[in-house]
Symmetry: C4
Subunit: 269 residues, 4 copies
């Protein structure tokens, strides 16, 4: 009988922690969300020297509270799920582990505590609370479009990397140490800064020839930004189209959820 009541407890915990369709489950998700945000805020504040020096103990205390909470959550998750190992080695299982492990590790190694920020990944859990079909649908179209664009984008990025390597090397030859182009890797870094139109200005060409080559690189960067945009736009249009309902008779896409008849063959849907 004890095992039985244990099973019921496990099931109850499971429903609260893993699902978001009961009010208790929603409350848990909200509490978790707030805890995550607060723990990230504490990591942020800890990094500000002025704050760290003034409120050292407060930060320490808060950190151990968050660590305890996340440890407890992890234990409950492992306990309540049917297949613990599957959860432990899943994407979210690993993230849950990383959320409190660094704090313990920091007792042995200093510096490890910044890894705590990986908790930001946990923010993605917020989408659980937004488990509306519509929301998931939007994510699905986005994902499908990006996946379909992948090959073209790899081809595109290969060309960009080749271009950046060649122009970076040319600039290293033309400009040299005096203008900050101290090595080929640094020059390639500069070429990436330029072609992506970021343009820090920590390194910039000084010679007429270097400025001319830089101008060409900028115009290329300005022009080819159209390529990934074009790729994604087309795939997004296709994915949006495909996610639509189809007519049962002629398989033409249904344009709007409010439509009652197929626009192609005129039959009622």
């Amino acid at each position: 009988m004890k095992t039985r009541s244990n099973d019921i407890l496990r099931k109850k915990i499971y429903i609260v922690i893993f699902r978001a369709d009961t009010s208790a489950g929603k409350l848990f998700d909200l509490a978790l969300l707030i805890t995550i945000l607060l723990s990230i805020l504490s990591v942020f504040l800890e990094s500000v020297a002025e704050f760290r020096n003034r409120h050292a103990e407060l930060i320490q205390t808060a950190e151990w509270i968050f660590t305890s909470l996340f440890t407890l959550e992890y234990i409950l998750r492992v306990y309540s799920t049917h297949k613990p190992w599957r959860y432990i080695f899943s994407f979210y299982g690993l993230i849950d582990l990383i959320a409190f492990l660094p704090s313990y590790l920091s007792l042995f190694f200093s510096g490890a505590q910044y890894l705590v920020v990986v908790r930001a990944f946990r923010l993605l859990r917020v989408f659980r609370i937004l488990k509306l079909t519509r929301f998931m649908y939007e994510g699905r179209v986005l994902k499908s479009a990006l996946k379909a664009s992948l090959y073209k984008i790899v081809v595109f990025l290969s060309s960009v990397v080749t271009l950046v390597t060649i122009i970076g090397t040319l600039m290293y030859i033309i400009e040299g140490d005096a203008s900050g182009f101290t090595s080929i890797p640094v020059s390639i870094y500069w070429a990436i800064v330029t072609i992506t139109t970021v343009g820090y200005g920590d390194i910039s060409p000084q010679s007429p020839l270097g400025q001319f080559l830089a101008s060409i690189l900028m115009i290329i960067g300005y022009g080819i930004i159209a390529v990934p945009t074009g790729i994604v736009s087309v795939e997004m249009a296709r994915a949006t189209e495909e996610a639509k309902r189809k007519c049962n008779y002629c398989y033409a896409p249904i344009h709007s959820d409010k439509d009652n008849f197929c626009a192609k063959c005129g039959k009622a849907i």
Copy 2:
């Protein structure tokens, strides 16, 4: 009888102030537009130290003239409208209030006068003068496209915020104080400056590893700018399409020039 003539006066004022379909109404709108632009110009000039020191009295005088005019306008609006409270708490009502309140407040608190710039919001009123169907149509398509894109853009921005938090923290660990990465919030600020391709250059990585990570962030930023663009393009295309022909029977929009039947009621077009 007095109430009667009062009513007529109120109605006349209402038509001049709130509507733009009579020549008096159009003239009022034009005068208001010019007054707003001049008052903003005066705020601009007041902020230029050289001008402020030389023409202090002129600015003071102009400011009180504008304040009086906007106060008078507000009183007339409240007086002439049928539902004063509804106007007062409407979007434009609050903006009209903010347009002159700071000047009075500045008599008590110094510094408050810069709030006057909220008058810039009033510039949106200029659209009243452009009350052409075509113009409103354009605005409608834009608004509809942005609204339909909202969910996808929220999903997209959440990913960007997560990415920027993680890379900002990594850069804080890698680069440290020496390169200007003095805290995690500052490092996240740098990551935003980089991923949006703004690139001020006030903070920039110095170590090879930092420059490598920065390069990856730039290329990601350069690549994913395609995502919001793709989203908006597709929705814009859809919104433009929907704003097209309407069915003669049920007034549902006709999706394509090639359609032979209304998708809503099934009748031949």
Copy 3:
């Protein structure tokens, strides 16, 4: 008879100068193109201090050769056209005039105190580059798409200007003189530099609040670049579609110039 031969001469000159369908006309266009490019190159070189000091006479000579050629071209155009005044006050007529007038004006305003004005005049010769507009064909689809997008882009730019004014003023209040935000116009200039993702870095926020506001402005700028892109993409698609041939029977667009049959009704074109 003299008038007759004169007429023939005028017609011959007209065909060579104004048209590009004879080999003489094509040769004239090519010669003009090269002359324009060389004259612009001479303006460029004149502005380089080192070159100007070393080759003062060469520049002077080249300048008067170009001026003579453009003057001669102008006289021939006025002489050969049927409606001289119409040409003189046309877009191209004015550009042709500006191409040589500044050189003559610089003879009169050669006083020491006018030196800057003279220099400015002479440099305006760079507008000769507008003479190249004649050589640009194929702009029809591009022009049509931009024209159709105009209203939406005006609405979009009005919102950007309003936003930039408000955030610029807020930053002026938050940051103040110390960070380089010396006046509202300068702060608005900074806001434009930021929202367009240019990011010079000559002015950049130093306070945490300023950096936070700047981050929001950057993300807005990064997001809304999608709007004009979306507008133009949609109009470009429409303009491309409209520029296509139509079927004679069902008026469906013909997809490719190589098609021999309508894809909609199957009839030969």
Copy 4:
């Protein structure tokens, strides 16, 4: 008989080197890819002063090993192909030559060894290993879209160059030497840095008029980035469309899933 066995040897070498459909061929391609990447890495490391000073001999040795390998590969390619001259003067033939020639030339001229980076071009060979129909298909669509956009992009770039020349010259007149606008070419370089939204900040306007003109240039640059994006998007959509179904009779592409007849031969599908 000797010639015969020679022929067989040549054919075997040809299959290994030029093709990627046998396991030996794939292995060769992989080995070549790794060698290229290592040789580029060695060029990178050589450019880092610290590394060069410490490991001078190692770099020297590695360089000659790579040069020998590429020389051997070149000789085998020339030997095994049926039409040696055609290979030698082909695109890849020239790149293969450039991959080792600079090392030999560097024996006579110092400085020439950096040209070795042109080996980066050889990276494009990696696509041979990925000889999957799907991959080639993606490249084909990209290429077709860019080719179809070429005319419009040339018109667009011509307008940008004209604009940049005029505004660059105006800024040279307005700002002058004090702000870094030392000559018209430098001012044009600044205008390109600005209109492409790179914004180094090494040169930036200081006068109010200059900042106003710069703001206009930025907004233009921000707005017209939509133009190439729009062009490429539309062409990408068209190219994707065209790569779709083919007619069963004449193999012409089927334009739309809704088509009932082939647009080329008029037969029902």
